[in-house]
């Protein structure tokens, strides 16, 4: 099968959200399952792997470790209430059946009120789960795993978020640069506002694999969130900024005004996700925005031509 790889617009801040099966949900193969299925796994090299199928019949495999997360999403899913079959385009296959075990629970979920607790049926899945990350940065192969089916109750959001607590909105200055398929965020805080430093960095990429017929068998989002000291974010005067974030980001990005009165975002800033080559996060194609809380923002369109 001939595949085309294309960058996709990244979903900043909220990458995954649960949506009830409403008008927007399309049923591909028969009746949509009334419940989600969640499977927790341990991958190699210390990565956690979570597999879920939502009411839209999207299978999502999330790989996380510390500030890093990757999400592999496919719509090539045969999903019923207790059975899931899916292929992850050269990265693995999932073919399991759910077996309930134990009583039903109603756990609280971040972002949902107490009245919107889901109904969770714990159990196990049996069959085949095989996943090998790019360049084998992590892998898992099991025939049985703990799992649960979940009956969602309402429109409640959860998933990866840039702001994990409300204090992270109290930035002093911030910068963002976005191109198709790549997003870079940096926020600077007063001392003591956030843990681990005074600056919070976020890099996110999205890539969509597309067949010649236009089918999209796999979409992959990756992001990393890393705190850093104030010295990595230097904005000595309004309108000039240099960032040098720590790994897995590397290099330097500079936001500066030119004699054309255009603000450029240049440098060798990049992010290195596990199993991939470094991805550039600066250049003329990036649109950018620099803000001072007390003064406002400077926005500059990218050169998408």
């Amino acid at each position: 099968m001939r595949m085309r790889q294309a960058a996709v617009a990244v979903l900043a801040l909220t990458v995954l959200f649960c949506v009830p099966g409403g008008a927007g949900a399309k049923v591909v193969h028969g009746r949509a399952p009334a419940r989600w299925i969640d499977i927790e796994l341990e991958g190699s090299n210390g990565y956690s792997i979570h597999i879920s199928v939502n009411q839209r019949r999207h299978l999502l495999l999330q790989v996380t470790k510390e500030g890093y997360a990757a999400e592999y999403m496919t719509r090539d899913v045969l999903a019923e209430t207790d059975r899931v079959k899916a292929k992850l385009l050269g990265l693995g296959t999932i073919s399991v059946r759910f077996h309930p075990r134990g009583p039903v629970r109603h756990p609280s979920v971040f972002g949902c009120g107490s009245k919107k607790r889901p109904t969770v049926q714990p159990g196990v899945v049996r069959g085949t789960i095989r996943f090998v990350g790019e360049r084998e940065y992590t892998q898992v192969k099991v025939h049985e795993a703990e799992a649960a089916t979940e009956k969602p109750t309402s429109r409640c959001r959860y998933g990866a978020k840039f702001e994990s607590n409300s204090r992270e909105r109290e930035w002093v200055s911030k910068f963002s640069a976005e191109d198709i398929g790549a997003l870079f965020l940096a926020r600077k805080y007063r001392p003591g506002t956030i843990d681990g430093g005074q600056v919070l960095y976020w890099a996110e990429t999205g890539v969509r694999y597309e067949t010649a017929s236009g089918r999209v068998p796999l979409v992959v989002y990756r992001h990393v969130r890393v705190p850093a000291p104030a010295s990595t974010f230097s904005d000595p005067h309004p309108g000039y900024l240099t960032v040098s974030p720590p790994p897995p980001l590397s290099g330097t990005g500079t936001f500066a005004r030119t004699p054309e009165s255009v603000f450029t975002w240049e440098g060798d800033l990049s992010v290195q996700f596990p199993g991939l080559d470094p991805i550039p996060l600066a250049g003329p194609s990036f649109g950018s925005e620099y803000c001072l809380r007390e003064s406002g923002c400077i926005r500059q369109d990218g050169d998408y031509r």
Partner: protein, 332 residues
């Protein structure tokens, strides 16, 4: 756009308490076709003024555009109310026309906030003599073309709803109107001169957040043999059009090098307050240098985080006697 610049549909008003009166008025138009890329027309914004205009508009790639125009305004010696236009354009030509309605007409209700009769537009043609030689780049000798005359009755309007009074000075009908907003600009250069009654002003603006390049506007206004003549250019200049020093840098400097119909480039230094270089403009029938000691230059370069309103034009406002009245009113 140029119709608006010449005060289309405006009528005299009288203010009285909560209401004001918009006086009856008549306007006319004669489309004379295209010549050398210019759209040529005769326009009567009211019963007292007749304007020959030539307009060329080019749409360039990346949504860029380039507009050049020439306007020649004189007093109408005829009676437009009765369909008569008589005007002399010095040595350039003259018109002596009478309107012949075709029978087709259209009525339009008064604008919101006003009451009175409907505006009536009669379509038809003009007959009679017309000859005009526009500074060597176009020549019209026929009055053939679509035409109309609009009669606006006297209206009673809520205060502030009546259209503005017609300007008395012919000069104001041909003065440039700011097209490019300067509100969000972060770099603005304005160079102007006035000599022997001729006003020349060039403005280059870079709006914050926009790609490299600058919007450029040139306006030339001069009296000649009882006429007011206006030439102008509006264009989107590419990268390299306007280069300036950074905000807060002293002495501030700027280089202006807009594309055709301009040629050459000009430089300005705050230190010497001199505007020098080879910059000029070549319009149909006119080749004009745009630098020299007679020019006053105003340069504004702001940091959008410190000056949220950008380069307000009035930071670079020319002295009142260098500012055409129409330009002044358009900005206030």
């Amino acid at each position: 756009m140029l119709l608006a610049a010449t005060g289309a549909g405006q009528a005299r008003l009288q203010r009285a308490g909560k209401f004001e009166v918009q006086q009856a008025d008549t306007a006319g138009f004669l489309r004379l076709g295209n010549e050398r890329g210019y759209k040529i027309a005769l326009y009567m914004p009211n019963d007292r003024v007749t304007i020959f205009y030539a307009l060329r508009s080019e749409k360039l790639k990346d949504d860029f555009f380039n507009v050049t125009y020439s306007l020649y305004a004189v007093h109408n010696l005829g009676d437009l109310e009765h369909g008569v236009v008589r005007a002399r354009f010095g040595s350039m030509g003259r018109v002596s026309l009478r309107f012949r309605p075709s029978g087709r007409a259209r009525k339009r209700d008064p604008q919101t906030g006003c009451e009175g009769g409907a505006e009536t537009t009669e379509y038809g043609r003009f007959v009679g003599h017309l000859s005009f030689r526009g500074e060597g780049y176009f020549h019209v000798s026929s009055a053939k073309g679509e035409a109309y005359i609009s009669h606006s009755p006297r209206l009673r309007c809520e205060k502030g709803q009546a259209l503005e009074t017609h300007p008395r000075s012919l000069r104001t009908y041909v003065a440039p109107i700011p097209v490019f907003p300067d509100k969000d600009s972060i770099a603005l250069l304005y160079a102007s001169t006035r000599s022997h009654g001729r006003y020349v002003g060039i403005t280059a603006v870079h709006p914050g957040g926009s790609p490299p390049g600058a919007d450029v506007q040139l306006g030339i206004v001069e009296p000649r043999h009882g006429m007011a003549i206006g030439h102008g250019v509006y264009l989107n200049g590419p990268a390299g059009t306007l280069l300036t020093s950074l905000p807060g840098a002293h002495p501030a400097t700027a280089t202006l090098a807009p594309p055709t119909p301009f040629y050459g480039e000009a430089t300005y230094s705050e230190e010497s307050d001199i505007w020098t270089g080879t910059l000029g403009v070549k319009l149909a029938g006119l080749r004009l240098p745009l630098t020299g000691p007679g020019f006053h230059v105003h340069l504004c370069v702001v940091n959008p985080l410190r000056d949220r309103d950008g380069c307000d034009f009035f930071k670079a406002e020319p002295p009142p006697d260098e500012r055409p009245a129409r330009l002044e009113r358009g900005l206030r």
